[in-house]
Symmetry: C2
Subunit: 152 residues, 2 copies
């Protein structure tokens, strides 16, 4: 699947405002509304655009505490196991296997410290977890929903 410069600009438009009309996007990229729609449909079908979502302030819905947890796992732990385990916890908003000391890093979001501690305890109870190292988020400096700029 090839993504040209116009596709890039359409994607950038939708990332900036997913509720923009096709006509509005078309005006920005010099295309008619139906032409934009066809491209968007194609991008969605190709999996480039996975969907459209609202950006919600976590604090406003009561989730004020955040942490990154480094997971240290037993020798024979597969990414699939970690994935399955983290998926069971709704507090997990991100999970990645990484190189370095730790085997994985988990991004948690909870209502408060007590809730976070409780989630951490549940994570530590997973059989393959040997130890964890917590980094409580003191302040969120930056968080881009997505990035679409072309690679330099």
């Amino acid at each position: 699947m090839h993504i040209d410069a116009v596709d890039q600009r359409i994607i950038a438009s939708l990332v900036a405002d997913a509720r923009a009309s096709y006509a509005e996007i078309g005006g920005r990229v010099s295309l008619s509304a139906p032409a934009v729609k066809r491209r968007v449909d194609r991008l969605r079908a190709a999996g480039v655009i996975k969907g459209f979502t609202a950006v919600v302030d976590p604090a406003a819905v009561g989730w004020t505490t955040e942490a990154f947890i480094e997971l240290f796992c037993t020798g024979r732990t597969t990414p699939a196991q970690i994935s399955a385990a983290t998926r069971r916890h709704p507090e997990v908003v991100g999970a990645y296997t990484v190189s370095g000391e730790a085997d994985a890093i988990v991004h948690l979001r909870a209502a408060d410290i007590a809730h976070l501690e409780q989630t951490l305890e549940r994570l530590r109870a997973e059989p393959f977890v040997t130890s964890t190292r917590s980094m409580i988020v003191l302040s969120r400096l930056l968080e881009s929903p997505t990035v679409v700029a072309a690679p330099s």
Copy 2:
């Protein structure tokens, strides 16, 4: 600002599909389209809903490499300094000050390892950075765009 159960369901609807029509959301929460629009406008004005965005597959736009970088800073470094510095780099998709050994954690997304290394070098060149520790992401197991479930 008070968010009631209906607001929660509207938010959940929009997180699931930001391009849903007001009538469609209204059908789900038993409200008329204008009533839904009024609530959405109110939620946006209050900053609960920060905006609407497209969820894009980073790999599809050529950004295949990802890392978390722990930053260790000089004694008198303010969060504002870190924020300003990370904001200058488009590869930074998230930045947080944290408790623990490191002072901050930075989430990077780059085209490839070379691009990542180059970005890391630029970050390390910031005057307040004394050292860094990199965790290259081997696989992304999970990444929720947003969370809206009510705190338990």
